[in-house]
Each structure stands twice: as C-alpha cells, then as structure tokens.
C-alpha cells in the first residue's frame, strides 16, 4: 500500500515512454508493411509543417481530384527529415518539394546553385523508388533577412557582411536548422558565421517574423515568398556564396504511384505556378483565408 503511488507512477511513466518511442516506429506502421505504400490507386499527399507547403499540396490535391485521381491528404507532417522518410517508407506518396533543399538533403556536399544544375544533380541523386516531375518556375528560397535598421547599423547587404558582427547577433529559424547544411551548419562552414545564439522557432512562420520585427532575434530564416518581407521593409541578404541553391517547387512522388494522368496533371500545375502567385497566395493565407479556397481560386484563374 505504502509503495502504491510510486509504483503506479512508475508504470505510468514507462507507459508514456513506450507511447513516445512508439512514435518513432509509427511512421513505418502507417505504411501497411510493404514499401509499395498505400493500398490501391489512392495517392496519399503529404506536406511540410508550414503553410505554403500545405497550400501547394492542396493545389495538387484539388487538381488530381479534378482529374479523377483518388487522393488522401496527410498534411502538416513536419520537417524534410521526417517527411522524406515517410515518402521512402510509403506512408505518403506525393509531396511538394523545393529542388535545392531536397538536393542538399540527399547530398550535403552539392555545390549546384542554378535551377538547371540542381535538377540535373537531383535526377541522379534521388534514391530509387522516388521520382520528380517537371519543376515549376515558382521559387521559394530560404533567405536570411534582417530589419532595415539592422542592415543600416551594420552595413549589411550580403550574408558575407555578417561575418564580423555575427557574434553579436542572434539567429532565429526552425529547429531542424540547428543540424542542417542549409542552415546553421552551412552558415558556419561556408560563410564562417558563428552567431551569438541560435533560437529555434518556426519555419518561416509567425514566431520567427514576430521575433525579428521586435528585435528578439536580429537575423531570421524567412521564405522569399513571404509577403511580410516587403510589407515590413525587411532586407534579404544576398547569398553571395550560394549556400542556398535554386528552390523551384517540384512534385516528388513515389515511383509506384506515378502515372501518366498524375504526371500530366501536376506538370500542368507546375507550368502555371509562378513565384508571384505564391507570394500573393501566401498573403491571403496569412490573412486567414482557407487554403482550399485559395487553391481553388488559383486553379480557376489558371484555367486548370
């Protein structure tokens, strides 16, 4: 009796630990056992955990549904480290990607920076079972942004300009940046930047933007298609050593689920999508408009 509360608590803690470790294998469990992924012809569309990825995934989803393809949406999965694993084990079949970052994920040493070079290298680097369709001209790069005041104070126009002052500045970005080449690691190795601190917030989301605008962080990882960049007169530092490669939006699909219908549909979407359209749609999303409405409006205006 005397030991009971403790014993119960121990049991509860162990159970909790098991549930949490269970998350690690949960992704594989979703796949249903075989590498082929979901059953039948249904295509499971995934997305990363930021709104633009969910928006593009919604566009893919609607376009495919219009083409008569059966889809299932499994959005907001997480960072690339997580969803690429999900794509490889068949938990999801299709996800909108950004070419440069995807290449860096598979080949951290890659030096490709133009759209063409990135695509050429990607074609060779993509592991078996995964393929990509045509890239879109629409791009969304990670950029380092500072406020106008910070840029003037330290005379910053390029990322290299940060070198002498980085030790006084705090960098903010998503948690995965701490270990990414396209993040803290690359900024240190390629540019020699050692920031005073790295604060992990969100991927180009409201936490990062708020912290930058209010001075809690001085340098932020922001997406180049974020309308808040121009709205707040932020300065995008030029990537003079090409750490961040071209980032064309591209659908990446499990080969088992690729078909002519799917390819034609998504190629048509990629051909119509532009960077300006992304910026405009992100603006609407930031104002709270529903992603499916935004996606539907864009598809209609693009005649798809």
């Amino acid at each position: 009796m005397r030991k009971l509360p403790l014993a119960a608590l121990t049991a509860a803690s162990v159970a909790a630990a098991l549930v949490l470790t269970g998350c690690a294998t949960g992704d594989q469990a979703l796949s249903g056992g075989d590498a082929g992924g979901s059953a039948g012809d249904q295509i499971i569309i995934g997305s990363a955990d930021f709104s633009e990825s969910q928006l593009i995934a919604t566009i893919y989803s609607l376009a495919l549904q219009d083409a008569g393809v059966e889809v299932k949406e499994q959005f907001n999965i997480g960072s690339r480290e997580v969803y690429i694993a999900a794509l490889q084990d068949g938990s999801i079949d299709l996800i909108p990607e950004y070419s440069g970052a995807l290449l860096k994920h598979f080949d951290a040493e890659s030096k490709a920076s133009t759209s063409e070079d990135v695509v050429a290298e990607l074609e060779e680097t993509l592991p078996e079972g995964i393929e990509m369709f045509e890239i879109s001209e629409a791009q969304d790069k990670d950029i380092l942004a500072v406020t106008e005041a910070t840029a003037e104070q330290y005379d910053l126009t390029t990322i290299s300009d940060l070198e002498p002052v980085a030790s006084e500045l705090i960098l903010g970005g998503p948690a995965e940046w701490a270990t990414r080449v396209n993040g803290v690691v690359g900024l240190r190795d390629v540019y020699g930047l050692e920031f005073k601190e790295f604060v992990s917030l969100d991927a180009g989301g409201p936490l990062t933007m708020t912290a930058l605008l209010n001075g809690q962080i001085q340098v932020a990882d922001v997406f180049s298609t974020d309308p808040a960049l121009t709205a707040n007169n932020l300065v995008a530092l030029e990537d003079d050593k090409s750490l961040f490669a071209a980032e064309n939006v591209v659908p990446v699909i499990s080969s088992a689920k690729s078909s002519d219908t799917v390819e034609e549909t998504l190629d048509a979407v990629s051909a119509a999508l532009t960077t300006e359209a992304l910026i405009e749609m992100n603006g609407k999303a930031a104002e709270g408009e529903s992603l499916s409405d935004i996606a539907r409006d864009w598809l209609d205006s693009a005649g798809l």
Binding site: L6, L9, S200, P206, G215
Partner: protein
C-alpha cells in the same frame, strides 16, 4: 542510433546542450513557475478557506484554467507580448505564464479544502482554549491543511514538469529541446530520450514530495488523521496514514 545509445553517449552528457544542463533549465522553469503559482494560490486558498468567500467564483475559474490549451496559449501570448517586452525575456515570460496558470488550480484547491476540512474537534478545542480566529487559522487549521496543500503542490509539480517541455517551442532550453529537435531532425532516439528524462525527473520529484510530506506534517496530526479519517483523502495522506499504521 537507439534510445540506449543516445542516453549513454558521453557527448550528450556534456556541454551547453548536454543532459545535465537541460535538466537544470527544466527544473529552473519548473521551480520559478511553482514559486509564482504558490505565491498566488496559497494566500488565495487561505483566504477562501478562512472566510468561505468566493469559493464558487475563484475555484470555478481556477478549474476553468485547467482546460486552456497550453501550446495555443503560449503562441498567442508570445505574439501579443513580443511588441511589449524587449529582449530575450519575451521567450521566457509566456512560458512561465502558461506554466503558472497550469500550476495554480491544484495548489489553490489543496489549500482551501485543507483548511475547510480541518478537524472540527481540534478547531472547537482551540476555540475553547481562547484562541482567536487568526490563531486558530495559523496554529490549527494551517497545520491540518498541510497534507492537502502538499498534495496540491505535488500535483502541480507533476503537471508543470511534464508541460515545461513547451518552453522549447519558443526556442528556450530544457528537456523539451530534445523532443522538439528530435522530431524536426528525425532523430527519434533523441526524442524518446528526452521524453524518458522528463518521466524520470517527474518520478524524482514525486519521491522528493513524499519525503517532504513526512518531514513537514506534524506526527500528532498523522495519528489523528489515521484514527479520525472519515472522508477519502488524497494519496499523500493515505501514504502517511499507512506509514503510521506500519509503525
């Protein structure tokens, strides 16, 4: 890497992001939040227990606090407070506020029910001996309330220590770092390791509170509790009762 390898890797036990440092930060957030929550909830609980006033309103709203979604509130507070609070404090303040809100209800409830459920015979006896109402409160009702108060504190501590992981969402340190970073970096051994450490920390604090209960609660009171207990009490009192019985 497996969970075991992650936990036994010496690299994870040293440096500014090592396990001892993160446990330290985690405890720091927990202790600060509990201290603030106690400073609010204990006096308020004494007031309610002593006067019997405001029980419905205060206790009701304190319980409503329990249902606030912590993560949602954290982000909302950050977005609202960021323009007001300068510097790094803006990451700390919302975190502490959500943890304090979480910690208040158990402590408050423990305090005022403890005072209200003090043995009436003891209160009557004290009154008969000429104690004033204030003396009764401090010398009879408060010591009687102590087991329930400690039990409330214990409940709060467990909730706060497990929820303090949200601090990492705003870029702060603590054991939540491993859980959030592990997820973002697809390093699930790290994620599970963080979760396990939180559970172990909660267990350690639970042990601490059972010791605290033995040390702080008057032995005479424990005997009284055993003999006179009518209403079902909390685990702390139950544990103490059986402990006394075992002697």
């Amino acid at each position: 890497m497996t969970l075991f390898e992650w936990l036994t890797d010496p690299a994870n036990w040293t440096g500014s992001r090592g396990i001892p440092v993160q446990v330290g930060f985690h405890l720091l957030y927990t202790v600060i939040s509990l201290a603030i929550a106690s400073a609010i909830a204990i006096p308020l609980g004494i007031f309610i227990g002593f006067t019997g006033k405001g029980e419905a309103i205060v206790a009701g709203s304190a319980n409503a606090l329990r249902s606030l979604p912590t993560l949602g509130l954290l982000i909302l507070l950050f977005l609202v407070l960021a323009p007001v609070i300068a510097g790094q404090l803006v990451f700390v303040v919302p975190t502490i506020i959500v943890l304090v809100l979480l910690a208040i209800p158990p402590i408050l409830t423990g305090t005022y029910t403890g005072i209200q459920s003090a043995d009436e015979a003891a209160v009557d006896a004290a009154r008969g001996m000429g104690y004033t109402r204030t003396q009764i409160l401090w010398r009879v009702q408060m010591p009687c309330a102590l087991p329930l108060l400690i039990s409330g504190l214990r409940g709060s501590t467990l909730q706060v220590v497990s929820t303090a992981t949200v601090a990492a969402y705003l870029g702060l340190q603590g054991l939540g770092r491993y859980i959030i970073d592990g997820r973002a970096q697809a390093d699930f051994a790290q994620m599970a390791g963080g979760a396990l450490l939180v559970a172990l920390l909660a267990l350690a604090l639970e042990l601490l509170f059972s010791v605290l209960g033995k040390v702080l609660v008057s032995p005479g009171l424990r005997r009284t509790t055993r003999r006179r207990r009518t209403a079902p009490t909390d685990t702390a009192t139950a544990a103490l009762t059986t402990l006394t019985a075992a002697r």
